[in-house]
């Protein structure tokens, strides 16, 4: 499933990084601890988090993640937005809580 298909199916906002909307999503990773993501997320994952600063994009790029999903209506800070566009890694948003959006993503990816 691509990032844009995911955004459509889960009704996510697309804040930035449109260049990467055709990225394939392999799986999801949910965490707000950056070193946890650094150590354990896999390439192609969609990263679900409440962190809204640019270091999220640095890690997403280093780990070749497909997209970032911000929870609970959080919006990316300006520098995160800029780096998302620069790296071509989409930042998406939802009003759902972390548990709920993680469950939705899990179900969606395991339905295929």
């Amino acid at each position: 499933m691509t990032v844009s298909e995911l955004a459509e199916q889960l009704n996510l906002r697309v804040f930035s990084g449109n260049e990467g909307l055709n990225h394939e999503i392999t799986n999801g990773y949910t965490s707000d601890l950056l070193s946890d993501v650094m150590g354990h997320a896999e390439a192609g994952n969609a990263w679900i988090t409440l962190q809204t600063h640019r270091n999220v994009m640095a890690i997403s790029s280093l780990k070749d993640l497909s997209a970032v999903i911000l929870v609970k209506g959080f919006e990316p800070e300006a520098d995160m937005l800029a780096q998302s566009n620069e790296e071509g890694i989409p930042v998406l948003g939802t009003n759902d809580e972390t548990f709920v959006i993680s469950g939705k993503l899990y179900n969606l990816l395991n339905k295929q």
Partner: protein
């Protein structure tokens, strides 16, 4: 034999990961096995962030030959009084503002250890820390 050097500014999180990003590009160009690149990127990023989070400034020195990639991070900073304690998963001395960003969970040094073939840390309190990482290319 290739040699690269990068400077790291203490406290400046906007640039954290810049050296790791550069090295990732270089290793890709050199056609290094992607599995090895992934490990090195994790180890270097964590070591780089440690300088940003804890030290005043630091240098990263990278030497690549046909056998291995050696990375040396030398910082000026508070140093580590008890390295064994610092290596423990979950132990951190990071400030509240650093933790708020999602750093400082005490996972950095364990990540470095798990993602390098050899790790040596030497430190002098109130002077600085030297972290040396070696990754072998033909394993």
């Amino acid at each position: 034999m290739m040699h690269f050097e990068f400077q790291v500014e203490g406290g400046n999180f906007t640039k954290a990961g810049a050296a790791s990003s550069q090295l990732k590009k270089i290793l890709k160009q050199l056609n290094v096995d992607p599995k090895i690149v992934k490990r090195i990127v994790v180890a270097l990023y964590e070591a780089e962030v440690n300088i940003v989070a804890h030290a005043y400034k630091g240098d990263i020195i990278i030497d690549i030959d046909t056998q291995k990639i050696g990375i040396k991070l030398i910082d000026e900073g508070p140093g580590i009084p008890d390295i064994e304690q610092a290596m423990q998963l979950g132990y951190s001395t990071a400030s509240p503002s650093v933790r708020e960003m999602g750093f400082g969970a005490g996972m950095g040094l364990p990540n470095i250890k798990n993602n390098s073939d050899e790790l040596r840390i030497t430190s002098e309190v109130n002077k600085g820390t030297i972290v040396e990482l070696i990754t072998y290319l033909n394993q």
